[in-house]
Symmetry: C2
Subunit: 462 residues, 2 copies
């Protein structure tokens, strides 16, 4: 038997006590506002999963196994079920378009696991908007710290969003169920002992990613419901000698678990994803947009672009010369910059429609990546974007951005989030523009809701 535990100042118990006790009034207004932003952003990603094969397969499984009645919505098809299945399907659907949020330090995607569990329970108990915001904030604060605690060694083999995500979902779910600190700790125990998700699927481009988020949301929710009814779990599931860190990490740091609880708001450190392409293209895309805005250029004005990048961008994007699919086009620096040059944006719809358009392809071939020492040295703490644009009329225009769009220091405005969500919904045909008007009005006011009910408009045929 393993006899040692991981000792340190942090503990599962302290984290559970924080999560159980977090009140809306304790959350700074700016953080609560950011939680609303993240929620609205998440709905866009959840809607984007409609008609994506692995998501629809999980949704069909949910229909086979779960009830067809209940107060919890599956956003992609507006069906209702019990909280478990709504959490499962919404969790799966929100992580498949790769447009959901990310916390850089923990390499963890909080929205895809926290909101599915929290929304399902909030709809089932008709929680208030403030209770909902307090719960999701608890989920973000817990999940991000668990991800940071489990560390780099964990992320090498385990999909942190699946593992830490189970705890995050349990925290959000448990807060909505008003668990006591003791019961929240039991929920953490039952969540951690269900936590799973391996990166092995990447090698085969298999479908596991949305399964991980769906199951993390569903399993965390399960842990919270069981704890509410007296089911007990390990009290040191994270740091104990046979706990998550002992089994699944070699560099776990317990101090991360409780780092500045109540004063550091990890939720507000979370990045939005703006462009629908590989994150390595984003700094240059933002810099090109700046150059075009500054110099009032259109696509026809541009003869060539040099993107000055970090080495990882060359490693990941370099092999993609002529993309053979829309998915691969998202890993093409030239295509991404071509869409930016053409439309001023590179969202799901732009990629889907125009990734192979002749003028975009021609632009793509005029884009070069070169390694930039400053950019490379700053990475990964900072993702600096630099481009040099050669214009058709012979000018050379340089531009830089110090933080890519969507990162905390360059976050999205509400109108940009609104437009992103509309774009995702339009892309997947999950809702019509008038339906999105009504939905977004509801979403932006979620923190003022007296009782969360259905979000999606009923279909005319319903």
């Amino acid at each position: 038997m393993v006899t040692g535990g991981i000792e340190g100042p942090g503990s599962s118990a302290e984290l559970a006590t924080f999560a159980a006790g977090l009140r809306f009034e304790d959350i700074p207004a700016s953080v609560a506002g950011r939680a609303v932003d993240l929620f609205v952003d998440w709905v866009g990603s959840a809607l984007a999963g409609k008609d994506v094969r692995p998501v629809e397969t999980i949704a069909a499984f949910a229909r086979t196994m779960g009830p067809a009645t209940g107060s919890c919505e599956t956003l992609i098809d507006r069906s209702v079920s019990s909280p478990l299945f709504a959490a499962l399907v919404n969790g799966a659907s929100s992580h498949v378009a790769e447009q959901d949020d990310v916390h850089n330090g923990s390499v963890f995607h909080p929205a895809a696991v926290v909101f599915p569990a929290a929304l399902a329970i909030a709809q089932s108990i008709r929680a208030s908007g403030q209770e909902f915001i307090a719960a999701v904030t608890a989920g973000y604060e817990v999940g991000i710290r668990v991800g940071e605690f489990l560390g780099r060694s964990h992320y090498k083999v385990f999909h942190t969003t699946g593992t830490a995500g189970t705890l995050a979902a349990a925290a959000a779910a448990g807060r909505l169920l008003k668990l006591s600190p003791d019961a929240m700790l039991h929920a953490f125990g039952s969540a951690g002992t269900q936590a799973a998700g391996l990166w092995e699927f990447l090698r085969d481009a298999a479908d596991s990613k949305p399964l991980h988020t769906g199951k993390a949301a569903a399993n965390g929710l399960t842990a919270a419901f069981l704890a509410r009814d007296g089911f007990t779990g390990a009290s040191r599931i994270l740091e104990g000698p046979q706990g998550m860190a002992a089994g699944m990490s070699s560099d776990a740091d317990p101090a991360k678990l409780t780092d500045r609880l109540g004063t550091r708001w990890a939720l507000a450190e979370t990045s939005f994803k703006f462009h629908a392409s590989c994150r390595h293209t984003h700094p240059a895309a933002d810099a090109l947009l700046k150059a075009m805005t500054d110099a009032q250029l259109t696509i026809g004005d541009i003869a060539a672009v040099t993107a000055r990048v970090h080495q990882a961008a060359i490693d990941v994007l370099g092999p993609v010369v002529v993309p053979s699919s829309v998915h691969q086009a998202k890993f093409s620096m030239g295509t991404t910059l071509g869409l930016i040059a053409l439309h001023g944006r590179a969202g799901m719809a732009e990629f889907d429609r125009d990734h192979a358009r002749p003028d975009v392809a021609a632009f793509r071939d005029r884009v070069t990546m070169v390694l930039d020492d400053e950019v490379n040295a700053a990475y990964p703490a900072r993702w600096i974007g630099k481009v040099e644009v050669a214009t058709a009329d012979g000018r050379r225009i340089a531009a830089r951005v110090d933080e890519p769009k969507g990162d905390p220091g360059n976050t999205l405005s509400r109108s940009e989030i609104d437009a992103k969500v509309r774009g995702l919904a339009a892309f997947s045909s999950a809702a019509t523009p008038p339906e999105m008007d009504a939905l977004l009005d509801r979403l932006w006011n979620i923190d003022r809701a007296n009782a969360l009910g259905a979000l999606m408009p009923r279909r005319p045929a319903d």
Copy 2:
């Protein structure tokens, strides 16, 4: 990123191909017969979970989240639901009385994860008894080999029945769903990436154990259903560089995965648990029974017993002098031998009713354990039982058994399994004796069923 994989002769693909292709006709009659024995034995354990708090909490969760209609039975309460929830609750209930089977080499309890998944699907598709037996055999063969593959380092932190159990359940479920070898491999991928279960709960005597088996059964079933519908998983989830062994073991041996597939029947190596006490008491209990039978003794004839044991028995059982609960009495050598002396058996009912009875307590105080060199040297490969009985009339009678009752070389007869199952059902009041007559008749003939339907008698009020 981890760059290496575990190389060796075994592979997930070979194991999946075996599981997908196993036909009833390929299984030796003695092995198929043993599968029936193990099934009947499992039903006893599943019924024994009735009214046990953590099991009932999981059952209540299933009622909240799942449908109340379907063809899949929850044995403890004879309710019906979809396959997912029947697997979850039956999986939880069958691992809580500690009377379910065990495979010594893999330290894995196959019945508690294989039968819940297989029975649920068999009832939902009305599979034949032969299809059912082929499927559960696939589940045992896969799960035992995965447990052996993951090795001792895995078992130090992970509850192998939860982790390997997910693959075992997927194999059985996938076989019933008639997955192709490719689809079975995808099911393995989705199962392995959900596999979880940590021993940390032991430190708090928390409720996680039945959660592990319930979730292993349900998650394995989920993986199989998803694979049937085209959902893909990692092709090397066990041995790949970011697979289960990479993340959760340091001594994995791929050769174990495919050890003599089709010629070695690991199912037939599985041990039944006979007495309802700690396994360390079993060899001496069997030896005492032999001494009493040989010399025709009753409890009143016995003045003292010396149990000659291995060191681990002294380590585990030694601290229990006067047990304070029925659970602790199962870790008392004296109490166990007292019940054997009184009743000739030490089942759930005997422990529950008589563990503190004055004549049993008095007998307990006349039992001594001493270390025996031969017994200790043979352990853990062989669990030899030796006792010396001093009779009231001054005789000294020695007896030994070379393999405890329930191990493959000293397995239970069908009438002994029958009696054990009746005892478990009586203990939990899950069924009346006449109901058990009808049920056992159905169970013993399971391999001849044309189509599996309901097993449990309907309640009069239904």
